[in-house]
Symmetry: none
Subunit: 195 residues, 4 copies
């Protein structure tokens, strides 16, 4: 992140071990129970080294999530917009089902709500890339006539992703596949309608 010291001399071993320890502990104990001290001990790394490269536990976790979230943020383009959306959103939801990643994501999300410094990083790492590729896919759909040219992409974004986060913060069950389809259909219909 803010890499004040010389990043060329950084120990790759410590770097990896820290991220791994962070995620592992998160899976085992839950985000809130994880401490920088614990990560350091588990990784066989000194606290100083962690604080040298990251400003806080949240920043470590964010990088760990990024590294672990293997599936791409990008959309595929099969020509079927609804299917592509479903695939991508399922991918996002699946991050919230694996215990370790889920705990880490909820943790950084929660911490991001309280710490504006971390908030920016959360936005940049977790949301921006997905939003960008979402918008790109939508624009492509408009060019290909799959989507009305006058459709409001921002509204579509809100209508599609909103339900996931709504249910997360309200502690309602997360959408399953079929429900996701209903949402996608409804949202596309809404932005496709003539005003």
């Amino acid at each position: 992140m803010q890499e004040s010291p010389n990043p060329q001399r950084r120990s790759e071993r410590s770097h990896r071990a820290t991220l791994k320890a962070a995620l592992d502990l998160c899976a085992e104990q839950g985000y809130a129970q994880v401490t920088v001290e614990g990560i350091a001990a588990r990784a066989g790394v000194s606290k100083k080294t962690i604080y040298r490269w990251w400003p806080s536990k949240g920043a470590v976790m964010l990088e760990a999530i990024d590294e672990a979230a293997l599936q791409p943020t990008g959309f595929s383009d099969t020509g079927d917009l609804a299917a592509d959306l479903h695939q991508q959103m399922s991918g996002t939801l699946s991050l919230l089902t694996d215990a370790g990643i889920r705990s880490a994501i909820l943790g950084v999300l929660a911490e991001g709500l309280q710490d504006s410094q971390l908030a920016g990083q959360v936005h940049g790492s977790l949301f921006k890339p997905r939003i960008d590729s979402f918008k790109e896919r939508m624009r492509k759909a408009q060019q290909q006539g799959e989507l009305a040219a006058e459709a409001d992409v921002d509204v579509a974004l809100d209508l599609l992703y909103g339900p996931i986060w709504h249910r997360l913060v309200a502690h309602l069950p997360l959408p399953d596949g079929p429900y996701l389809s209903k949402i996608i259909d409804a949202a596309l219909a809404a932005v496709n309608r003539r005003a």
Copy 2:
């Protein structure tokens, strides 16, 4: 909350002072910086007394929010569904603009993501009442023909409230009034369309 001791002998003065101190400190320093010790000191109350009546800082805050959230959770029924939704959702959003309440709400929301005990209370206090009266209003609209009888109320809930929370957790700007109208129109169109 879990009121183990005899609530009849509870000091109303301490009770009020605690809730007030909690919100005040939240406004001044932000939720994360508020501590039980700080609340106790500010309220002129002992820590023991706080722990006697609430299990955690989050529970205090939740009660303080409840008490301070003056506008009703219920919907008015002017006969214009879109207008009623707009009014109610604006009310919810306005809670997120006042510094003190916003900080408190974000705080308990964030903490709720990490603490399943608090999560239940958050759901019960913050979300359930609003969802219930939302559904009630929707059903009334269906009876009055303002809304298609086959409209899926759950989907409507997700489409309408989702954008707010999506933008909150993604650290995007919250919707303003006109944008809210677009969302409401889109969501109602979506659930009203013939399947």
Copy 3:
């Protein structure tokens, strides 16, 4: 020492346990290896509690020494000045032979050389009482004619106690009993001579 908090509510158990742990650890590991954390752990006491009542490890040790240095600082008055001096100085020297106390005393002495705050306490606790009773005994000796009325008590103090500290800081062997007698005879002769 600086007892900022209310000393009436102090836990006697923690107090005693801390002093005991300090001395024990000193005996086992040597003063330099003893840490506040170690004392706290050994005593079953929190670091906070130690820092509440003492400003530093040195202050804890000083009090521990005081409590443990059972033999009185006062001189006996058998009527034989040289014998009384010998007895008292042997007592002082014996503090420097028991491993635990020796280590603690050397430690606070060393630390006192570096920390003027502690220096004052070292002087007040370790030296002042012994110097005072030395001078008192000398004055009594003068009244009883055992010592020349014009003998310089300060010089006597320096000549008598100096050798001990000289040998300590110069890392020479400490005086044994017979050598002590030589010193005492020489010093008394010196201050008793007509100028």
Copy 4:
């Protein structure tokens, strides 16, 4: 000191800069506040280089003191023993009045009380040379009849130097010139007297 590497290739610049930085920092901040890191930074030298040539901060300081203590350890022989003693002891005392050297000397003395490895070096560098030349001067005095042949040189050493160290560790004011004369007269009288 333990010069494991090839001393011929040693950088004289680094050597000098380190010793100078050590003493300067000592004067500015006091021995206890000086760190190897601080010395390295001030000297523009790497920590590794310091640890290559000295085992510890104390060893650096000891060498720095040795280099800076310009006045000779040797006694002059004017034929007046008391005067020669006074001159030499004043010289020793003057080391304890210059802020930088005083702080360094107190520091190594203090550290020497705790660290037997350093203790040996302290004895060898600071005390042994002075004691040796003291004894030599005393023996010369005996040959020249200035001092009784049967005078005990060890006792004399203790009586003369003792007061300085006694006052140092007891945090009493150090002797001034006139008082020094009293001590010298008393000590010489004591060892000169017929037993």
